[in-house]
Amino acid sequence: MQNIFEGIKDALILLTTLDPEFYAIVRLSLFVSLTATVLASIIAIPSGIVIGIKDFPGKKIIIRVIYTLMSMPPVVIGLIIFLLLLRSGPFGHYRLNFTPTAMIIAQFCLVTPIITGVVVNGTKERGQDIRELARTFGASRTQTLWLLIRELRINIMSAIVTGYGRAISEVGAVMVVGGNIRGHTRVMTTTIAMLRNMGEYSLAIATGIVLLLISFFINSLLYYWQQER
């Protein structure tokens, strides 16, 4: 209990003393997770909508694969990406292992099925009605897709928030492909894991509290945006 109280105190100190190393860790965490979420959204939102409303052979299998990938352990995704990016691996010549880019790729792979799956679910429910409405007014394919995105925006926002939550909070994948290198690939979750190993419990709790505060702030922004529109 003592560690938790000290953690709260240390969190306030961390936030107010403007420690450059700590702020670099926060910045990198946000950069990696937000970039991965944005890139995943660009792919996953249209894919989720198309899978949700279209009937095609193999649709049920694809949905089952997406649901399975939604619960894929981050450390396994990290390991697969790590092996693909190894110097002897198929993408080794890019030399991406232990860089923020590799961390973004790993989180992108983690988040894409989550956003796709949530969007598929929402689209299955109302997508057909929206699509038929657009078609009864002679909307083009692009106009229909845009209407679907507009109408399903609450569901899409939930998908993005869920995906971002998964990205910012995971530790396994970024640890495997990033290596937690100080000043280069160290993010908040890997810092917490490292501090725990070092027995610095209160500082680990402090970092966790900061992570939660940032998540609260970003979720509040997304929630506000969703309500306004």
Binding site: R135, G138, E151
Partner: protein, 235 residues
């Protein structure tokens, strides 16, 4: 718009639900499509509106022949209309917006339509807060605002209050007299058919069993099946 169908069939899971040798709807006709539940009325509208493809046969639309041009000149209003998750104003404006009409013209047309349907006070209200009757007024206003050549209505006044029914019928009649579109209306309301339509088709088990003028179908020359359904109150 003149519509002609030849050899139209539609099957779901190998079960044929619609089988019509041929039909012709002349430009400017106002057809009432009646018949018991499951007779294929809604399926026929979905085929004509191109929401569904026929299993066999062909439907032609004169004078238009290009796919997008046909789709842009018609509309279909469902019994339970889907209203966009936005204001009433934006719902009515939607068909005009996708046709890239000038915003000033959109405002003029939408305001005119809202006034016509006596829903101008609801302009800024969120569509999902409307009652059934109000929602159906918005749906019909949205369907008429872009002046389509073909209007299809699938039980547009089912489950709404008598006052709203009267208003919707009045607006529909007035729009029809002014713009002379082709109208196909599925309904179970016999009196409504007599009030609005100039032609009627009776459907039964996926086929057009009888069709023609109101006087023919509902008069002494009408078939015994139609008479029996009317007597039993099925339609």
């Amino acid at each position: 718009m003149k519509i002609q169908g030849t050899g139209i069939t539609k099957a779901f899971n190998r079960k044929t639900v619609l089988d019509i040798n041929n039909f012709t709807v002349e430009d400017g006709d106002f057809w009432g499509i009646i018949g018991p539940n499951g007779s294929g009325k809604s399926t026929l509208l979905r085929l004509i509106s191109k929401l569904t493809e026929p299993s066999s046969g062909e439907i032609t639309y004169e004078p238009r022949d290009k796919e997008q041009s046909i789709k842009r000149s018609m509309t279909l209003v469902f019994q339970k209309p889907y209203l966009l998750r936005t204001s009433v104003y934006n719902n009515v404006a939607y068909p005009l917006q996708i046709r890239q009409i000038h915003p000033t013209e959109i405002r003029r047309k939408v305001e005119e339509m809202l006034t016509s349907f006596q829903i101008e006070s609801l302009a800024n209200q969120k569509a999902w807060t409307l009652s059934g009757g109000e929602a159906q007024k918005v749906a019909l206003a949205r369907a008429l605002v872009f002046n389509p050549e073909l209007i299809m209505l699938d039980e547009p006044t089912a489950n709404i209050d008598p006052a709203s029914i009267m208003l919707l019928e009045d607006r529909l009649r007035s729009h029809y007299q002014k713009s002379k579109p082709t109208v196909l209306m599925v309904t179970h309301n016999l009196q409504q058919t007599k009030r609005l339509c100039n032609k009627v088709a009776f459907m039964y088990e996926g086929k057009i069993h009888d069709y023609g003028s109101i006087e023919h179908v509902f008069g002494p020359d009408g078939t015994s099946l139609v008479k029996s359904f009317i007597q039993q109150g099925i339609i």
